[in-house]
């Protein structure tokens, strides 16, 4: 499944989608950025409630297919701009991390 296909689900809102055709290999949930970099796999959907600028660098370097902000966490406009520049897909959802993962598990 691609990130674009995931974004078509009504529970997920697109914040930015510069690389919609990225494939999704699975899910990683975490808010400690170094922990995420140590454990997330490339092409994972990364579910987090962190929303600072370093999230973009971590997403880029870990090569995750998209960042999914749980529980309606939002991003500042300038962070979103950086995400688009770096080619990082970002979605948000009103669901909590657990429900989000279950949802994605049923789709991939």
């Amino acid at each position: 499944m691609t990130v674009y296909e995931l974004s078509q689900n009504s529970q997920f809102n697109v914040l930015c989608l510069p690389e919609p055709e990225r494939e999704i290999s699975g899910v990683y949930i975490g808010d400690l950025l170094s922990w995420v970099m140590g454990r997330a796999q490339g092409d994972n959907v990364w579910i987090t409630i962190m929303s600072n600028i370093n999230v973009i660098a971590v997403a880029s370097l870990s090569d995750v297919s998209c960042v999914l902000l749980a529980e309606d966490v939002t991003l500042e406009e300038n962070i979103l701009k950086t995400a688009i520049e770096k080619g990082i897909n970002i979605l948000s959802t009103p669901l909590a991390a657990y429900e989000t993962a279950i949802k994605i598990s049923g789709m991939i």
Binding site: L32, M37, G38, G42, N52, N54, A57, L61, D63
Partner: protein, 140 residues
Amino acid sequence: MSELLNFHFDVDGNDFTSAGQASIQIKKNLRRLGLDPETIRRVSIAMYEGEINMVIHAHGGEADVNIYENYIEIILKDNGPGIKNIEQAMQEGFSTAPDQIRSLGFGAGMGLPNMKRYTDYMKIESEVGKGTTVTMRVDI
């Protein structure tokens, strides 16, 4: 053996929000060279953790990435406070990062362990009061 390619960066120690610029640039450069995605991921994560460490602890420093035929070498050099006990610093969960860094999601004591995890060779040379040099290699 002389390196085939060298990339040099000055890491700005004052701006935590821009930390990662060097690593992201390296990622782009390695992509252009056509290296496989997992190798690129390992190099760029190891370098980013090092960059973050230099910003948090050492007011910045210098990063060099040398590309050889069989491996990529990353050398991170700073003139910071040095590491008192390297063995302790290498333990997962050990951290001396200040609270404001932790609130950003760093300082979990995973930086050095991640650098070791993602590289095939890692050496730390450090002198208290003088600085630290970390050399890492990732086989191609």
